[in-house]
Amino acid sequence: MRDATVYLHFPWCLEKCPYCDFVSYKVDRPAIAHEAYADAVLAELEARVSTLGDSLASRRFISIFVGGGTPSLWASESLGRVLEALRSRLHFIDDPEVTVECNPSSLSEGHARDLRAIGVNRLSVGVQSLDDEDLKYLGRLHDGAGAMNALRAAQTAGFKRVSGDLIYALPVHSAEASLPMAGQLLDLGLTHVSAYQLTIEPGTRFGELAKRGRLPMADEGTSAEAFLALDSYMEGRGLRHYEVSNFAVPGQESVHNTGYWRGLEYLALGCGAYGFWRMEGPGEPAWGVRYLNEKLPESYMQLARTMRDGTGFTAETTGHSTTASTERLDGETLVKERIMLGLRMADGFHVEASEADLLVPVRTPERQRSADKLEQRGRLCAEGERWLVPKSRWLFVDGTAAELF
């Protein structure tokens, strides 16, 4: 029995944030196609379930993550229908983690109660900052007080597991600027915080400004210091820095995201969603497919209606399914991804466990040589069957991973 997860994407927002490069479209609230979108996702689910057929029987689903966009805009009845179908069509563990991403501006206590009622047990709230100036710069619709209210509403509605997102390393900030905000979140009783350094992505408004040299940016040294400052602050408050950008009270880590970093499969549904599924037969070295769904909501919904069995996981059938493109991932590529993602976690990358799971050699002589060299330079620790990057060298983990490719 292999663990797997479900990712469900909701492609609309009330406002497009200038730094965001996810698939999302600005929409007026009344124009959201709640039911039609749910119908499309259900159609896609049926097509994928029948395509995967028997292989689904050997998967045990451990989580659902509803991301976006702003899925808290989605009517809970519509989302509820989808969750219900997922539970009936896929084999879930008891009490799987079901997370919905929320924007403070679209999360009321009532809505939170509705989400609880349809089986959602974890909320991930896009706080980003508690400073009104920051929030304006980031193009957010809420202010600091609004964010705190939304978090309180979630808790009042009965959510035990609430996570807050923060963005740090904003231009004018000192290295310690994010610490008081993180502190406020923890004071409120949050058990999980994701803190991302502001990243300028191409194709976003910030990306365009940066290209023209018009975007003030934090200096690299300061953002490195901010990373280290957050690490020691959060650890001091009893949270574990379990992934480069994630902190949790032990036991409260995100099951779903940890799945990505361990290389688990994720069945993706919805407009613009990325999925990954393994295709090898029993006893064969692993290989898989990463697929991307159609990014335009209207086209997605149309394709989903006519999506046929047997499609969605190969490039040849694109055009007949919601899948817009696929990427074949051979065993060696899967190994690279696991190394890249594993080294980002405090638990590190399990060499032997990966070999056993993928049936692909990880400890090749070349890679072992690179690992030895990295170890000599203090950039990698080999602890039994695991490779891990010492916390002090997390700031350089990308280069470390590349050396092990």
């Binding site: 990243t199 690299e220 690279k336 890249m340 983990v397």
Partner: protein
């Protein structure tokens, strides 16, 4: 059956690059029926791709044409193509020695160029009948009278009978063939004498061994004869001989006056040196034909594989090229920065570029080539003379009594309006002016004595750019002179990058050192610590640049779709790393070496 020598005409075509030599040769082939229009690929004679692309002839080609002249007689015309570049001066002289005449093709829109002059003088010295021809008269900018006047003034050739032609349209081409018959003297030489044939080209054929192009001067050579190469003192049996028309055609014999090829399972072109005399082993000639010279490389550079595993492949490739190119020398070299490779010697810069391109293109090798160096004469304090062709091998300064560097005589042809720029360029490169003459209203010849070292870097490119392409140049090495030369080393965090060491004049050391360090800085990836890049003479630092430390290299978000994108980035990074060279604790990408090779002098 041998042809009556009075019906043979051996000639070559002298032309500046782009003046239309190959196109004209193609018209000859068509007119004499050697190639039908359909077969005639553009520029038939330039057969290597590289030659076709660069529009220059690297190896000599020959073709035999049957031509029925207006007098009703059938003539055998042997067109001997000559390499068109100063690096191959010696080969040109040998090719010319196989001819009695030469057609001087001058582009009537451009006029006479420096390189043409050198070859024309060579032809005149060797007593060839030089027939001027004005090409490209179909172009509107053609100036036939002006060009004629220039040829008469500069070269002293009578142009009253000169044919105006266009290789492109074919106009005037028949008249040229008639002039060849009428003006080029038939070969002299004794068909009954002892065999003497001059080698003017050779190349390696994987099936036949070395192929030799010869002009028989005296006697005859038949298939089955045992021949001797007089300079190398090696004997071979002729298994095949023949001529190109333009495709190879086997013959039974070649006799006095004729041109053709010989093969005989000859192991390498090192036994078949250009300029050598072929005779019969059984009845050898007493004296070889005059003019043989062993050519020596003038310019040296280190060639290193980017991946050390390609070292054996590089050796094999050089071996193969060497079989075909007696002028290329190579010996194993090692550099702390670049690992194992070869120190290669070339006739000149073009020769070097050609070899480099062929290694990369034909053998698919990824190479790093170090900055070219000339050969220095270094006199040590213990009164030894060392020939140093690799700056890294220069003895420490305290052991050097003096360094002498090769000096060339440089001639540059340039329109008067660009003379000023040319003079300051030569001045800047330590040149000493010898002469300056107005050849005509729009042509000046400038003569300089200038250190060879100063023109092997980027001189030609600079010359072309400051004169908008109107200048042409030619040079010959005239001797060695002492000068204040120093070695500049480049240090990366204190470790010397031996492959980047250069020898320069003391007065230029600082500027060059700084420019090298600045350039290198752009290419050194940031490390987790600060990296110092310094230029030094001995222990003295003359320039310093700093690569700031990298503070972070970590992606913030890595979920679903980010994973592919990030993985691909890291894969690319890893791929790039493979092409890096480790210097101490710092890895330097290959582009750095390539870019530095292009640093302004």
């Amino acid at each position: 059956m041998s042809v009556d020598p009075s019906r043979i005409r051996n000639f070559s075509i002298i032309a500046h690059i782009d003046h239309g030599k190959s196109t004209l040769a193609d018209r000859f082939l068509e007119l004499t029926g050697a190639v039908s229009n359909r077969e005639s690929r553009e520029q038939f004679l330039d057969k290597m791709d590289l030659e076709r692309e660069r529009g220059i002839t690297i190896k000599a080609q020959t073709v035999r044409l049957d031509y029925r002249a207006k007098d009703g007689e059938l003539y055998q015309l042997n067109l001997i193509d000559t390499p068109g570049h100063v690096d191959f001066n010696y080969e040109v002289s040998r090719s010319l020695s196989a001819c009695e005449g030469a057609i001087l093709v001058v582009d009537s829109t451009q006029g006479v160029e420096a390189q043409t002059l050198a070859n024309v003088y060579l032809a005149i010295e060797q007593g060839l009948e030089v027939i001027p021809v004005l090409n490209k008269v179909d172009l509107p900018s053609s100036d036939v009278d002006g060009t004629k006047q220039q040829i008469e003034e500069i070269i002293g050739l009578d142009c009253s009978e000169a044919v105006s032609c266009s290789g492109k349209t074919g106009v005037g081409v028949p008249a040229i063939l008639e002039q060849i018959v009428a003006l080029v003297p038939p070969p002299k030489g004794d068909p009954e004498g002892l065999l003497r044939a001059i080698i003017f080209d050779s190349w390696y054929d994987p099936y036949r061994g070395a192929m030799v192009l010869v002009r028989v001067v005296d006697g005859k050579v038949r298939r089955g004869d045992k021949v001797r190469f007089m300079a190398t003192q090696t004997d071979y049996e002729v298994t095949e001989l023949g001529t190109f028309r333009p495709f190879a055609q086997a013959l039974d014999e070649l006799s006095a006056g004729e041109v053709g090829f010989i093969s005989g399972n000859i192991r390498s072109v090192h036994d078949t040196k250009v300029g050598d005399t072929v005779t019969l082993a059984a009845k050898p000639a007493t004296t070889p034909l005059p003019g043989f010279k062993d050519v020596k490389p003038m310019v040296f550079a280190g060639i290193f594989p980017t991946e050390s595993s390609e070292y054996p492949a590089l050796r094999d490739a050089l071996d193969k090229l060497h079989m075909n190119d007696a002028a290329l020398s190579f010996e194993p070299d090692s550099s702390e920065a670049l690992g194992f490779g070869y120190r290669c010697g070339f006739l000149g810069l073009l020769h070097m570029e050609i070899i480099q391109e062929r290694l990369e293109r034909e053998f698919d090798l990824d190479l790093i080539t170090t900055a070219p160096s000339v050969v220095y004469d270094v006199y040590t304090t213990s009164d030894e003379r060392l020939r140093v062709e690799n700056p890294a091998k220069l003895p420490p300064p305290q052991n050097i009594e003096r360094i002498e560097e090769p000096i060339v005589k440089l001639s540059i042809h340039v329109p008067p309006e660009h003379v000023g720029a040319v003079l300051s360029l030569c001045q800047e490169r330590r040149g000493v002016q010898i002469d300056m003459k107005f050849l005509s209203n729009n042509r000046v010849i400038v003569l300089y004595e200038i250190p060879f070292n100063e023109i092997i870097f980027d001189f030609h490119d600079r010359l072309k750019s400051i004169t908008r392409g109107y200048a042409s140049m030619d040079y010959e090495v005239i001797g060695y002179r002492p000068n204040f030369l120093v070695k500049v080393d480049i240090l990366v965090n204190g470790d010397s990058l031996d492959a980047l060491s250069i020898i320069v004049h003391r007065d230029k050391a600082q500027v060059r050192g700084r420019s090298l360090a600045e350039k290198l800085r752009e290419f050194v990836p940031r490390q987790q610590y600060e990296v110092a890049i310094q230029a030094a003479i001995g222990g003295k630092i003359i320039a310093r640049e700093t690569v700031r430390a990298m503070r972070k290299d970590v992606t913030a978000k890595c979920y679903g779709g980010d994973i592919s994108r990030k993985r691909k980035l890291l894969e690319k990074q890893k791929e790039g790393k493979k092409r890096m060279k480790q210097v101490g604790s710092v890895e330097i990408p290959q582009e750095a070496f390539l870019a530095i090779l292009k640093v302004d002098g």
